[in-house]
Symmetry: C2
């Protein structure tokens, strides 16, 4: 099987990830930060090691500002719902995932939302964003790279703009953590949401929210046992416990630590280089297929390793289904939980097939996929209701 | 090492749990419910199997009412924060964990809270609870069994009372799921929160919220990508997706499924029988140690396999530390994230040492621990700041 669905979750993981999970479950399987005994302390040490590894990766000076969450969506909900107050204005883009648009939508008339329309390549215009900032703007929430087109947003430029305006900058790094360099200081990010199980190579059930000093007013999302200051009636004002109630996913976090170690050992540059080669090879090859239309930037440097496309005259869902069942290529066809992005691209009706690469994909897999697409183009693909398409 | 901290998280797990996690990560490591390809469908199948297993265990007729969460605290926050509206009255007990008391506390003056005082054994008086119900009472939130004394609450009786009054019944089964029989129909439970990693024998990073039909108005806690109905601006009104945004912890949920299968195969009665024997043996032996005071019901049948105690004249934290460092017995000394419970017992200042047993503990371990306690009673234990005590 060829797995080109790494934007949903990376697979396979480095073997060290499962080893670390097994070690944690079998050798340090107590509740971290809860009891004083050796097994609990061992679990706590594993969690803290991962906290430090992520802090190092993103230039976070205080590892206690690295908060572990269920997934990036959990982190984004914590960030968005934890900072807004009635009457606030929030700026976002037209390329966001539902993990940003739905929490904002559910706040209803409590807040005002400006969605900056992006261009047909999914890119935001920073000047448009600058003009949208008002006196009651609380925050700018933006994806680092689109999960549909891979389009990389000018995060550093936006960060400087937002900081100068005295607002809060929330970044969704679902498609970039472990793939592109992220520096919270240089990019002036106040709240950074990351999945643990995508580019960071950890298992599912892990996510991260970095809470910067300027976002210290962030309200806790989940209240409860923190293993410290239990006598306090409310949530203790201590990091990371303030935002980490209930038993942490120590086993998953240990696996995530091994994933981050793999990235550091391999080197972000090397990972990025390989993924760019795959992306470039695919774009070059696919561009030559008549009727195949690629969306997003033409240059691989301008995108995360994500490429969405359609073949004129072919049903997208059927195409995704055929890639899976006829050629054993796993990809994702549909709206990719990002209807706004598809409206921006003009593909809300047609939908798209998405290929997303990881460090473990090979150039031969791209070549084979291109061959399959050329083949598919000439074939009739039966449209089966719901086949291959997740919308 | 002897592990008597199973109320925090069970350890060890049945070996099938790690096997299931490895299988999921290596053989079905895609994102469940997101794409249409085989690997995603395989992950989805594993998740659904666990959903069905938990539904079977708790007599839940529709498995889609089993919602996967980060942990029980996450589930309790979803339940409590998702049902309350300004002006609501909530009834709870004086034996609750911070995972109940802190979300309620953080709602501040938005709601009214009545905490029914429990007796010195941690038991609630159902008549007191009945009298506390008002016209604006929205829900009763109560633990199935105390995490400090193990005291089992008369859940069925309370459930009938709450149902008759037309209110919502929220049960915290942190200490009972996989240990005591739970039947949501018979007990008339509307919202049931369970950890996956305690009695259910799954890994950390797993929790469950059962959402009954009468709680259909529950607001979603975490909004975002659901893999279905992506075009809808808000959260889709479909179960389980309405309450499950972002990538599920498929690896952990697969492990949880193996844990639940272990419980079913072994039989709740057999598990309960063994844990009762351990509890009874400990209570009987410890009662003979002069100066050792046990809290909670004297009868093992009236409690979950949790026993908290102190030794007069000995510092609780030091006792916990000595049990760990001198005798290699892992337990939890402190307030157990339940300050209200300790106030009820009159142990808020002294705190307590907690032993909590699982199916994998042996009667010989209880005998050895009793020997250690008899020994400890005669020794001077140095009080080291913070040693052994997690508060």
């Amino acid at each position: 099987m060829i797995y080109f669905d790494n934007a949903a979750t990376t697979w396979p993981k480095p073997p060290e990830v499962m080893d670390a999970m097994r070690h944690c479950l079998e050798e340090a399987g107590a509740n971290p930060g809860r009891s004083g005994h050796k097994l609990s302390l061992a679990a706590g040490k594993l969690v803290d090691n991962t906290r430090q590894a992520i802090a190092d990766l993103c230039n976070i000076s205080d590892p206690d500002r690295v908060i572990f969450t269920l997934n990036a969506t959990d982190a984004l909900n914590m960030a968005i719902l934890g900072i807004v107050e009635t009457g606030d204005h929030i700026i976002t883009s037209s390329m966001e995932h539902n993990s940003v648009t739905r929490p904002l939508h559910c706040l209803g008339s409590k807040i005002e939302v400006t969605k900056i329309p992006c261009d047909r390549q999914g890119l935001i215009n920073v000047e448009d964003l600058s003009k949208a900032i008002r006196h009651n703007t609380k925050a700018v929430v933006i994806t680092h790279a689109s999960n549909v087109t891979g389009t990389i947003m000018p995060i550093k430029e936006i960060g400087e703009l937002v900081r100068d305006a005295g607002k809060i900058f929330i970044v969704d790094a679902a498609q970039t953590a472990g793939i592109l360099d992220i520096d919270v200081e240089e990019m002036k990010i106040d709240l950074l949401a990351m999945p643990g199980h995508k580019g960071l190579m950890g298992p599912t059930g892990t996510g991260v929210l970095y809470v910067g000093e300027r976002a210290a007013f962030l309200k806790p999302f989940r209240m409860g046992g923190t293993g410290s200051k239990s006598a306090v009636a409310g949530q203790p004002d201590v990091l990371p416990e303030k935002y980490e109630s209930g038993t942490l996913n120590a086993v998953g976090i240990a696996g995530l630590g091994a994933g981050v170690d793999f990235i550091k050992r391999t080197g972000l540059q090397r990972i990025r280089g390989h993924e760019n080669r795959l992306t470039r090879a695919f774009i070059e090859g696919a561009s030559k297929i008549h009727g195949l239309k690629i969306f997003g930037p033409p240059n691989d440097e301008a995108r995360a390793p994500v490429v969405s496309f359609l073949i004129e005259g072919k049903d997208t869902a059927a195409l995704g289904g055929a890639l899976d069942s006829w050629y054993d290529i796993a990809c994702r066809a549909g709206l990719h939980c990002a209807p706004d992005a598809h409206k921006t691209l003009g593909t809300f009706e047609t939908k798209l097939v998405r290929f997303s690469f990881s460090y473990f994909n090979k150039i031969e897999e791209v070549d084979y996929a291109l061959k399959c697409l050329r083949d598919l183009k000439e074939r009739d693909i039966p449209v089966v209701n719901g086949s291959g398409c997740s919308c």
